[in-house]
Amino acid sequence: MRKNLFNVGALVRGMSTTFSYMFKKKPTVEYPSVKKQHAPRFHGLHELRRYADGKERCIGCELCAIACPANAITVIGAENSPEDRRSPGERFAARYEIDELRCIFCGLCEEACPTDAIVLTPRFEMADYRRGAFVYAKDRLLVPPEAGVGTPPDERPNGIPADLGGVFRAKDTVDIAEGYDATHRGHILKTQRRGLTLRQAKGDDGRPGEIE
């Protein structure tokens, strides 16, 4: 009997933990009507970016495809024609496809990209009823022309960047401190992409310098 009475105390102590949460703010939100803020470096759906003049940043080099541990990326390159220039330099991606079902959202493609063309956005709502719908081609990955950011590398008359190193130093063309309004989801990115500054070395004037 005495032992049972002692157990009532334990019960009260245990339930008090439960009841204490009843008066705290609930962590669950009414998704999808309410959405939570992501972690700053959340890895979601990819997008292919452009320069401010509308040219594609992607040069079809396939370094993302070879870096991808899940083999989710397929790139087929082609040669730019003078009449229809798609990217700075000689080469562009004629086909660019990511199988988002295979993708493990590790971001290595983003790391490998020499022109900052492929980036992972915080967007994660990709649900669909068809498997095929998860293979994202350029039509869904590429941002609209007006959403381009950064100046493209200077080009010589024969269509090749004058400073070829410039193509591959493209990272300094994005003013990261201010975020960028590059996409239709620009306002999200402004707040979300700050994580990039973690990799940022400060310049002499306090503004961000070149990424090492």
Binding site: I66, E90, V167, F168
Partner: protein
């Protein structure tokens, strides 16, 4: 080369020197280069300008090594081994030297590796990873040069990437001897350019893209299409001509992207490929490929089922056998098939009693002969005699052996008859028996005779000198088949025996209504048979013609039933080269859906006809046995090319060959349309003067049968006999065979319209 010398042989023992490389004792023949000596102990010394087949140049200096007793680092590629030499290929001093050399190379190199076709298989990348410093001390802007210089119809040069190792220039000087490339300007401004300023045109241009250690020279057909790590590589034998070079096929996503030479293939290709073998791959994925059997009904093509098509074929053969016997059936082709398929075709027809079998669709007479002399024998010959159309156009890579034998081994080249060998080496062109006898001389040494297999009037008299050679003279005979596997098809039975009819006789018999079924297996006689009218009449008069081909060719247009088949990239088996060796063919891509190999068709047909074919495991041994058996002497219907003068101011016709001609795989390869041979009319300067024609003029060629070939280009060439005109055979637009068998033609200058 050095490792091959047996060290136990006392004769060569005296010639060996002993040295130490990285502390390992090496014994190599006297005169060996250090870089080759190092290979015997599997020590690779980095090289750019040095190439096994091109020899040392001493331009790039990346191969620095330290040799004890020498104050400075030495280049391994141009240092000959000496007894007691102590060589260090890896130590801090050597690494430092290589780092300094690489820094020079990278001063102006654009480092656009992500978009460079060579990226991933680039020597500059590899060595920069191994010895490079990782960062540049260059503060001035890099030298800017044009990025995409169009060198010719096949090659694009990126001048910024070029490190001026001059491998391409030396290939052009040493191997092809065409001397069309050179370096221009000096120092940092040095560029590769054509010597004439005209486009870089050669039949071997593709090799320079492989030789280029960086991504400066790229192929137009492969530029930016793939990266090396995407490609799946298969090693097979080229089936474009009878040389059968070993080659790598790089495939991605079931598309053949490029073919590459096999550097170790010393026996056949000598590590080179001709441009036809390298670039003629686009047809495999052409959208005009046939994928369903086509039956002609009331003049229109109707797609039918495979089973129905094969049933129909079998029924027609059965009906012909029942109605008139096996002599009313014929089969043409086999020269473009694999050995196994040719054997099955011959076996199937012979089992039914059919003797009307022939693989020869052109002017060729006999290609399976007793000689098994190979390419290395040719290289070691002292006197090389070419007879008939030049090897450079029938077997291009074989021609490189001729150039090597003449330029490096001191052989003499004699061309006899209507055709000059045209091999970019000194040659003696003779047209008379006495001339040939003089040219051969009293002491010919080892003789190699290369013949295109076409009998011509006056041929036996011309070559009579060959019978007067000293008895001990070794004579190697080579016959160049017109079709890639002509020799194999002939050895395996696609040749008429006994009362059987040859191709021409079959067409004549068909025209006279004596043939019921004609099966044409991978051949295009309407374009290639010397008398087009006869071929067309024969096909038209035959009640049932079956053609197996990849495309709706000129011949297939005359068929009742067209069966789509695999290309050589889509099936595996063997092929026979001109030297009588059996070479493996390995499929690299899947055929389009619904397409079968010729062999599969024949197996299906045999089943329907109740014929038992050899089992697959017996085939290989049987092929080898037949190919290695010299033919029994027997009368083979011969085609004799007329060389008599044409009457009354008309010109007699000499048939020229060119590698980029044909109506099948070439005509349906649009990616290399620029390479398709432009039909020409080569005439002697005297003839040109008489007709008031100049080089480059457009002419029409009017034949004596009322046919005219339009818009050919005049080439004035003193090697063409007077009173003759050399016209290109096998061009779809201006088919020479439309003029008839032995035409006399007139040239009509095309009036220039303002």
């Amino acid at each position: 080369m050095s490792a091959a010398v047996p060290q136990t042989d006392p004769a060569s023992h005296a010639e060996l020197v002993t040295l130490s490389i990285d502390g390992v004792e090496v014994r190599v023949p006297k005169g060996t280069l250090l870089v080759e000596a190092a290979k015997t102990i599997h020590t690779d010394i980095p090289v750019y300008c040095y190439h096994e087949k091109l020899g040392p140049a001493g331009l790039c200096r990346i191969c620095l090594v330290e040799i004890d007793g020498m104050p400075k680092l030495q280049i391994a590629c141009n240092t000959v081994v000496a007894d007691g030499m102590k060589v260090h290929t890896r130590n801090p001093r050597v690494d430092d030297g290589r780092r300094a050399i690489l820094e020079f190379f990278l001063l102006n190199h654009p480092l656009d590796c992500p978009i460079c076709d060579k990226g991933g298989e680039c020597d500059l990348q590899d060595y920069a990873m191994a010895w490079g410093s990782g960062s540049s001390r260059m503060i001035d802007p890099k030298t800017s040069k044009p990025k995409a210089v169009d060198l010719g119809p096949t090659i694009v040069l990126d001048e910024e990437r070029c490190i001026v190792c001059q491998r391409c220039v030396r290939f052009d000087q040493i191997i092809t001897r065409e001397e069309s490339l050179r370096t221009e300007d000096r120092a940092v401004q040095t560029i590769i350019a054509t010597a004439t300023g005209k486009p870089y045109v050669s039949d071997f241009t593709g090799n320079v893209t492989e030789l280029c250690p960086v991504g400066a020279l790229t192929s137009k057909t492969y530029r930016f299409r793939s990266r090396p790590w995407d490609n799946h590589r298969t090693t097979t034998s080229c089936t474009q001509c009878s040389v059968g070079c070993r080659m790598h096929v790089d495939e991605r996503g079931n598309t053949v992207l490029r073919t590459m030479s096999v550097p170790e293939d010393d026996a056949l290709s000598d590590s080179w490929l001709c441009d036809r073998g390298r670039y003629n791959v686009g047809f495999v994925n052409d959208e005009r490929r046939l994928t369903m059997p086509l039956l002609k009904q009331d003049g229109a093509w109707v797609q039918i089922d495979w089973a129905d098509a094969l049933d129909l074929w079998a029924e027609k053969i059965k009906a012909a056998l029942a109605a008139g016997g096996p002599e009313r059936i014929g089969a043409i082709g086999g020269g473009r098939l694999l050995n196994e398929e040719a054997l099955l075709a011959a076996h199937l027809h012979r089992a039914l009693g059919v003797e009307n079998l022939d693989h020869r669709i052109g002017t060729q007479t006999l290609v399976h002969h007793g000689s098994f002399a190979n390419h290395v024998d040719l290289e070691n010959a002292n006197t090389i005699i070419t007879l008939g159309r030049p090897p450079s156009q029938l077997a291009p890579v074989l021609d490189l052996r001729i150039r090597k034998a003449v330029s490096r081994n001191g052989a003499r080249l004699i061309s006899a008859g209507d055709y000059a060998a045209d091999s970019f080496v000194p040659e003696t062109h003779v047209t008379t028996p006495a001339g040939l006898k003089d040219a051969i001389g009293a002491n010919p040494g080892r003789v190699a005779m290369i013949w295109d297999g076409v009998f011509f009037e006056g041929g036996p008299e011309l070559t009579a000198a060959m019978h007067d050679l000293p008895a001990a003279t070794r004579v190697d005979r080579y016959v160049l088949p017109e079709t890639p596997n002509g020799r194999g098809a002939e050895a395996l039975g696609m040749i008429p025996r006994g009362a059987g009819l040859g191709t021409g006789a079959m067409f004549a018999a068909a025209r006279d209504g004596k043939l019921d079924v004609l099966s044409i297996l991978g051949a295009n006689p309407v374009l290639r048979y010397p008398d087009r009218a006869l071929a067309e009449d024969g096909l038209r008069a035959t009640p049932f013609v079956v053609v197996t081909d990849l495309f709706l060719t000129e011949t297939a247009e005359f068929a009742n039933l067209v069966l789509p088949v695999c290309s050589a990239f889509e099936k595996s088996g063997t092929t026979t080269d001109l030297a009588g060796d059996v070479l493996p063919v390995v499929g690299s891509v899947r055929p389009p859906d619904g397409v079968l190999a010729d062999g599969d068709l024949l197996v299906e047909l045999a089943e329907r006809l109740g014929v038992t074919l050899p089992m697959p495991d017996e085939l290989e041994a049987k092929v080898r046995e037949l190919v290695k058996t010299p033919p029994a002497d027997g009368a083979v219907p011969a085609y004799v090319r007329a060389t008599a003068a044409a009457p009354g101011g008309a010109l007699r016709v000499i048939a020229d060959a060119a590698i980029f001609t044909g109506g099948g795989t070439l005509a349906f390869d649009t990616a290399i349309r620029e390479l398709h041979a432009r039909p020409h009319a080569r005439i002697n300067p005297a003839t040109a003067r008489a007709l008031a024609l100049a080089d480059g003029d457009p002419v029409n060629v009017a034949g004596d049968n009322g046919t005219t070939l339009y818009d050919l280009v005049v080439r004035v060439d003193e090697r063409v006999a007077e009173g003759a005109v050399a016209l290109l055979d096998g061009v779809v637009r201006a088919p020479l065979n439309a003029l008839g068998r032995a035409p006399a033609v007139r040239l009509e200058k095309v009036p220039v319209t303002a």
